[in-house]
Amino acid sequence: MIAALELTANHYLVLAAVLFTIGAVGLLIRRNVLVMFMCVELMLNAANLTFVTFARELDDVGGQAIVFFTLVVAAAEVAVGLAIIVAIFRRRRGATADDVHLLKG
């Protein structure tokens, strides 16, 4: 009966959506900058999953190529993000996202 259930693209899409939402909520809830970063990664992954699912669904290799590019972007982002975090931490002990609000209007 488990096998009886047909594995369709929707399953993947639903899962990707859930993952994306968890990432988004995590980003909003957590105050630790690093964890927020991880949540962003999670959201990116959800997007990649969707791309791949549609790549197979629509029989178009372009989807996978795009995933490739998001990977690159994610990597670059993490590199620069963590560098910034290190710079901030060097200035102030244990800063959370709320402490960093010098750019106030």
Binding site: R31, N32, T96, H101
Partner: protein, 222 residues
């Protein structure tokens, strides 16, 4: 069988992501992230995206998460954190919005509003001797050549950025304690820096605009 794998790894992915979001200790979060990434890689495999699965595991799970752990250890923030939330409306709003977005996406997913027309990139499934890596590579270096080169430049920039930021600046950057020494944990906002007066327009115009009242930051509690 196919479906069994999907269910198992879906559960693992969800568990991983939840630990990322709810983990007290950042290290646990990092590990949760690894779990999630790997399960996604499995899904890639299930959907004939072997190259991506490999890249995912190597780049993402391997490099990115390791970098995270490295930074966590470097900064010594691997302590337990209380999930206290200073901004009153932040958490409920986040949950509500998350639910709404999820509901909307699922509702929309039900509608086949996507155009649905096969793009002209070229078929994924060719004949029997189909090789995913070869197909992806061919599209990458033909249709997507130009973006490919740009991402190369992007990576270079990222590296340079990382180096510049992390470099110790000329004079020793003393630890500047803005306002009171209360650590982030105490939750009260760091002493708000006095917002400087609205910059007076040129002297000739100064008496024109009625003097911009230097507004105290209304939120600052202390």
């Amino acid at each position: 069988m196919e479906f069994g794998i999907f269910v198992v790894f879906a559960a693992l992915a969800l568990a991983g992501s939840l630990t990322v979001v709810l983990g007290h200790n950042p290290v646990h979060c990092a590990l949760g992230l690894v779990l999630a990434l790997v399960s996604v890689a499995v899904f890639f495999l299930q959907q004939d995206a072997q190259l991506l699965a490999a890249v995912q595991v190597i780049v993402y799970a391997g490099a990115v998460v390791v970098l995270f752990l490295f930074v966590i250890m470097l900064l010594g923030v691997d302590r337990e954190e209380t999930l206290h939330e200073p901004i009153r409306y932040q958490r409920p709003a986040a949950l509500a919005l998350g639910a709404i977005v999820l509901a909307e996406v699922l509702f929309l997913a039900g509608r086949t509003w996507a155009t649905g027309t096969p793009s002209a990139r070229g078929p994924l499934e060719e004949d029997a001797g189909y090789n995913n890596i070869e197909t992806v590579a061919r599209t990458l270096f033909t249709d997507f050549l130009w973006p490919f080169e740009i991402t190369a430049a992007l990576l270079v920039i990222a590296v340079v950025g990382g180096v510049v930021l992390a470099r110790r600046s000329g004079q020793p950057a003393e630890l500047v304690d803005e306002g009171d020494a209360a650590t982030g944990e105490s939750g009260t906002n760091a002493g708000s820096s006095p917002s400087e007066r609205a910059p007076a327009g040129g002297p000739a115009l100064s008496r024109m605009a009625p003097p911009a009242a230097s507004e105290r930051d209304t939120e600052a509690a202390s």
